[in-house]
């Protein structure tokens, strides 16, 4: 696996929450890069700053100090409208839950970012995604009529549908049973390998991280390790090592 381009990058990123005694340094001068067309997992103990990093990379939150880049764009230089447009056109999201707008059906949820932008979705591309995740027969259903696994797959399809430069997923399989989780992760892996997507996924599940091409380990807001071509076993070993 050769690293061609950098899709996203944090340089000396610092994020401080609160003030005085209650101050928390969620990101503590972190440097990390995410390659294009790569499936990267971010792991680390609870409170290590995984979600914070993801939010800052995705333009949902701003840094206290340092820089984050999406491609060549320094997110710190963008105002709210520009960040919104960037999220709409260049970033895809899969959250742990509540990914879908309850008043829209599955298909409408999938094409939501395009609808927001007032663009026509690329029909063949959307069809391809729908067939890949296998929800064609559920397209007219509203989220409440879908199972948790189906909801997360619709969310993933939405993230892919607008062909973003990068997709961020925060514990996407965290609420799913193992079969549904495996289906979702398999689909994400396929999106990277066959469709050339870039995905950065936060997870605390070694099995989930096993689907990735690369794992970045975080602790106390800094990178403490990294592993290429991970498997569940190697990850478990590595975690034991870190904890030791």
């Amino acid at each position: 696996m050769t690293r061609t381009e950098i899709a996203a990058r944090a340089a000396g990123a610092v994020k401080v929450y609160g003030e005085g005694d209650a101050q928390v340094r969620a990101l503590n001068g972190i440097d990390v890069e995410f390659g294009s067309r790569e499936f990267t997992a971010i792991m680390g103990p609870s409170g290590s700053g995984k979600s914070t990093l993801l939010h800052c990379l995705a333009g949902l939150d701003s840094l206290t100090d340092g820089h984050v880049y999406l491609g060549d764009t320094d997110l710190g230089s963008l105002d709210d409208d520009e960040l919104t447009r960037l999220r709409r056109d260049q970033v895809g999201f899969v959250f742990q839950a509540y990914n879908l707008v309850p008043t829209l059906n599955a298909l409408e949820n999938i094409t939501l970012p395009m609808a927001i932008a007032g663009r026509k979705p690329d029909q063949t591309w959307v069809d391809e995604i729908i067939d890949t995740i296998g929800i064609r027969d559920r397209l007219q259903h509203r989220p409440t009529e879908l199972s948790g696994g189906e909801q997360q797959r619709v969310a993933a399809a939405r993230a892919l549908a607008s062909r973003p430069d990068i997709i961020f997923a925060d514990e996407p399989s965290g609420n799913l049973d193992s079969t549904s989780g495996a289906e979702l992760l398999g689909f994400m892996k396929e999106a990277v390998q066959q469709l050339g997507q870039t995905i950065v996924m936060v997870t605390h599940d070694p099995a989930a991280a096993g689907y990735a091409d690369r794992v970045v380990f975080l602790a106390d807001g800094v990178v403490v390790g990294e592993m290429l071509e991970p498997t569940r076993e190697r990850i478990l070993d590595h975690i034991k090592l870190l904890e030791a």
Partner: protein, 849 residues
């Protein structure tokens, strides 16, 4: 439980703030109208006991007929009576007094219009006793050519002592020297009415009274009780004249003014009632939403062992606190409102002495009771719903929106609406065999019940109607439009309840608009049909006084004029009730004014006789050839033959008679109108110019053609309409607060969803647009319901009045305008919630806990 309740309240501060506001406005109106009318009431009491200060007994003509000011005054008291009275033992001092209407000219020589009551002329007796008037500046008028004005009027017109004031009484203006300014006890005028005061001989001259008086005021010798004096005086007085104590005169006069005040109070209270009624919808909706949002919390209480009754109690306690707080605020608001009314009262010419506003205990209690009861009643259903939350709901996902059946809605709503309609129909069309409720109150209650019924049913058709209203949105407004549409349809009960508040306001607005249009249309039609004169000379300003007959005499000589018809106006009693009487010039009237002669003719009307309106003849059960009993203030009871039965709009009176018959039976002889037909070939303009050459000397008359006439009636209708609109605006405003409130609450519920939309790239502007158009759908939905009901109500009311010749006119343009305005109002109502939604913290919204 108490702590939990208070905490719960404080936790929802913002949500409740708007609810509080809704009650505060309603209660404020209740309190404001009480405070204002109480204050004015005691001012009147003081005023009238002030006007009779120093007077113990008054002698006055017996007024048998029920008359309004100015139409039909009785015979005056001959001067000889005064001499007789002065000789009676126990009478220390007695003076005659005179009153009549006058009009003042302002500095530009135009009739000075008053915003409220008319200006009176009166005599100011030369006595050492204190009387009604007290001298503020200058001197009392003591000779002809002198006048004193009340200080308020002098200030308003910019006159100072020493100036010349022109006064119109019957004829052309006459100049008087302003020698003094007067007041009434503490106040600078009398309940808004101005006064021009003359010495007695001058008053007798200008009022054409000869040596007679309207009343005689008497001061008793110390030690003689007024009642004793009354007994002593009565036997020596002529028929039709009575002696009464000054105290009872003051009480009567104050009571008469207070009766008018009572109407005003009722008027304000009706609108306060409407506002509170609209408020109940909003309070109920707010509590329902809050209960729904707190389902998990309430279930937790239940799971921890709270009984369902405790939960009900919790919600009701919350409501009671909200009620007390908002009533308290409402009371303060009401006092502020009373201040505004006091300023308005002064603007309309009244003068309030430096008295503080009167906040009685009764007002405080009523305000508190109204606010608390309204809140509690509104919260009752939501509280019961809260109690029905099962403990297991603590474990369930709150968001799961089960679609409950709407069957019960229909089952309950249809009979309620039907009952309301029945009440309305009875009130409008059925002669009630009892008197404990007035037909108007019945119609009002019916309307309220219909509103409730429709509000109960409306969730059933919320989805389809909201869907139709929002149908073009997805195309026009892209995604925010389709989300707005979906959001408005997603909780039909909530949308319907929110819209119901606006529905009430708009139903009443449409009703008022339709009635105004119908009156306007009817008047136009009547004028077109009956107005055959080219020009009409009538009085400016306060109606019913009339103008000098010399005008008609002079006009008759003009070569431009083909013919003219004079009319006069008065009051008498006919059979059981009062009747308006018009006297007409029998030879020409029918050429200049069209009425339907049903039976008989005007040929013999010039001899003592009457012509009756059909409806009046029917209630009296008389026909042509029969005799009716009619009582005049001047000549008492008379038997007059009926020579014609007629019908027609455009005449207020139900009794027509000849000028000659009028002259015999009424004391004042003034023309009310002169209808003029011009010679062929004379244009309206040149005709008008010719008439003006005569009337220029009389600033108290105006010349109108058909178009002027229409414009005048229309401006009167419009004035009333705008007054009603201003009052209804209040309930519309409350309804808008309701929309704001519901949207804010919905946004709290949808925090996560909005956060998600923002995360995947929806701009703030798009979020605002989404909320804004949802609001538009809700308000247009409410407006559609309201306008439909308004049309129904309007049609029914016009139907009920169709016997009086009222035609139904549907002001389509205005109703569409109202619909549009409701849409705009929806945009305004959404400003705050939309702004808040667009400012939501995206991270908080999507974080998973």
């Amino acid at each position: 439980m108490w702590r939990a309740t208070v905490k719960g309240l404080l936790g929802h501060k913002l949500r409740l703030a708007l609810t509080v506001l809704a009650i505060t406005i309603g209660v404020g109106f209740v309190a404001g109208s009480f405070v204002f009318t109480d204050t004015l009431g005691s001012v009147f009491d003081d005023l009238f006991s002030g006007t009779t200060a120093g007077i113990d007994v008054t002698i006055r003509p017996i007024i048998e007929t029920e008359t309004d000011f100015g139409f039909s005054l009785p015979e005056k008291i001959p001067a000889a009576v005064l001499d007789d009275v002065r000789a009676v033992e126990g009478v220390e001092e007695a003076t005659g007094a005179l009153f009549w209407f006058v009009q003042l000219l302002d500095q530009n020589g135009e009739i000075a219009r008053t915003n409220g009551p008319p200006t009176f002329g009166a005599s100011w007796a030369d006595t050492n006793r204190p009387g009604a008037f007290s001298l503020r500046e200058g001197a009392r008028p003591t000779a002809d050519g002198q006048v004193a004005l009340d200080r308020k009027t002098a200030e308003r017109l910019g006159f100072e002592v020493g100036d010349t004031v022109q006064i119109v009484i019957f004829g052309p203006p006459e100049s008087f020297k302003l020698v003094g300014l007067a007041g009434f006890g503490e106040a600078d005028n009398l309940g808004g009415a101005g006064f021009a005061l003359f010495d007695i001989p001058t008053a007798q001259r200008v009022f054409n009274s000869g040596r007679a008086f309207d009343t005689i005021d008497i001061a008793a010798t110390p030690g003689v009780a007024p009642e004793t004096l009354v007994e002593r005086l009565q036997p020596m007085l002529p028929d039709q004249v009575e002696a009464v104590t000054a105290q009872s005169v003051a009480e009567e006069q104050a009571a008469a003014l207070k009766e008018g005040l009572g109407f005003f109070n009722t008027f304000l209270l009706v609108f306060a009632g409407i506002a509170l009624f609209v408020g109940t919808f909003i309070i109920q909706n707010t509590f329902r939403i809050i209960v729904a949002q707190r389902t998990r919390e309430l279930a937790l209480f239940r799971a921890l062992g709270a009984t369902s009754r405790q939960v009900t109690g919790m919600v009701l306690t919350e409501a009671a606190i909200v009620g007390v707080v908002s009533s308290g605020l409402g009371l303060l608001f009401g006092i502020g409102l009373a201040n505004v009314l006091a300023v308005a009262y002064e603007f309309f010419g009244g003068d309030l002495p430096e008295a503080a506003l009167e906040v009685r205990l009764r007002t405080v209690l009523v305000a508190l009771a109204v606010g608390v009861i309204v809140t509690l009643v509104s919260a009752l259903l939501p509280a019961r719903k809260a109690a029905s939350v099962p403990p297991v709901a603590a474990m369930r996902d709150v968001e799961s929106t089960t679609r409950r059946s709407m069957r019960t809605r229909v089952v309950a709503g249809v009979p309620i609406s039907a009952f309301g309609i029945a009440l309305g129909v009875i009130g409008l069309f059925v002669e009630l065999p009892f008197e404990w409720i007035s037909p108007i109150a019945l119609v009002g209650a019916g309307a309220a019940v219909v509103f409730i019924g429709v509000a109960v049913i409306s969730p059933v058709f919320t989805r389809p109607i909201a869907g139709i209203i929002g149908a073009p949105f997805p195309r026009l407004l892209a995604l925010p439009g389709s989300l707005a549409r979906e959001n408005s349809m997603r909780k039909p009960r909530r949308t319907a309840a929110t819209a119901a508040a606006l529905m009430i306001g708009l139903a009443l607005v449409s009703l008022a608009t339709i009635l105004a249009a119908s009156f306007r249309g009817t008047v136009r039609e009547v004028i077109d049909e009956s107005f055959r004169a080219d020009l009409v000379v009538s009085e400016v300003g306060f109606g019913g006084i009339g103008f000098s007959t010399s005008i008609a005499e002079a006009l008759a000589d003009l070569p431009e004029i083909d013919r003219l018809a004079r009319t006069r106006f008065g009051q008498a009693s006919l059979g059981e009730g009062p009747a308006f009487v018009s006297a007409v010039q029998t030879d020409t009237f029918l050429d200049l004014f069209a009425i339907d002669l049903i039976d008989g003719g005007f040929e013999t009307l010039s001899s003592p006789s009457v012509a009756l309106r059909t409806s009046r003849a029917e209630t009296l059960g008389v026909a042509v050839g029969d005799t009716v009993t009619i009582t005049f203030a001047r000549t008492g009871t008379q038997q007059l033959p009926v020579v014609a039965i007629w019908d027609g709009q455009g005449i207020q009176a139900s009794v027509l008679m000849s000028i000659e018959t009028f002259e015999t039976n009424f004391s004042e002889q003034l023309d009310a109108q002169v209808l003029i037909a011009l010679q062929d070939g004379i244009s309206i303009e040149s005709g008008r110019a010719a008439v003006e050459s005569i009337t220029d000397a009389f600033p108290n008359v105006q010349i109108q053609d058909q178009a002027d006439f229409k414009a005048q009636t229309e401006s009167q209708i419009n004035l009333i309409l705008s007054l009603i609109f201003v009052m209804l605006l209040l309930s519309v405003l409350i309804a808008l607060l309701g929309i704001t409130n519901t949207l804010s609450l919905s946004i709290i519920e949808r925090t996560r969803e909005i956060g998600l939309l923002r995360a995947v790239g929806m701009s703030r502007k798009q979020v605002r647009r989404m909320i804004r158009w949802e609001s538009v759908i809700i308000s247009v939905f409410g407006a559609v319901l309201g306008i439909c009901l308004g049309i129904l109500f309007g049609w029914a009311v016009v139907r009920a009045l169709s016997e009086q010749g009222l035609l139904f006119v549907l002001p389509g343009g205005q109703l569409i305008g109202a619909l549009f305005a409701a849409g705009v109002a929806g945009v305004v109502a959404a400003v705050l919630p939309a702004w808040r939604a667009s400012r939501l913290n995206v991270l908080n919204a999507i974080s998973y806990e």
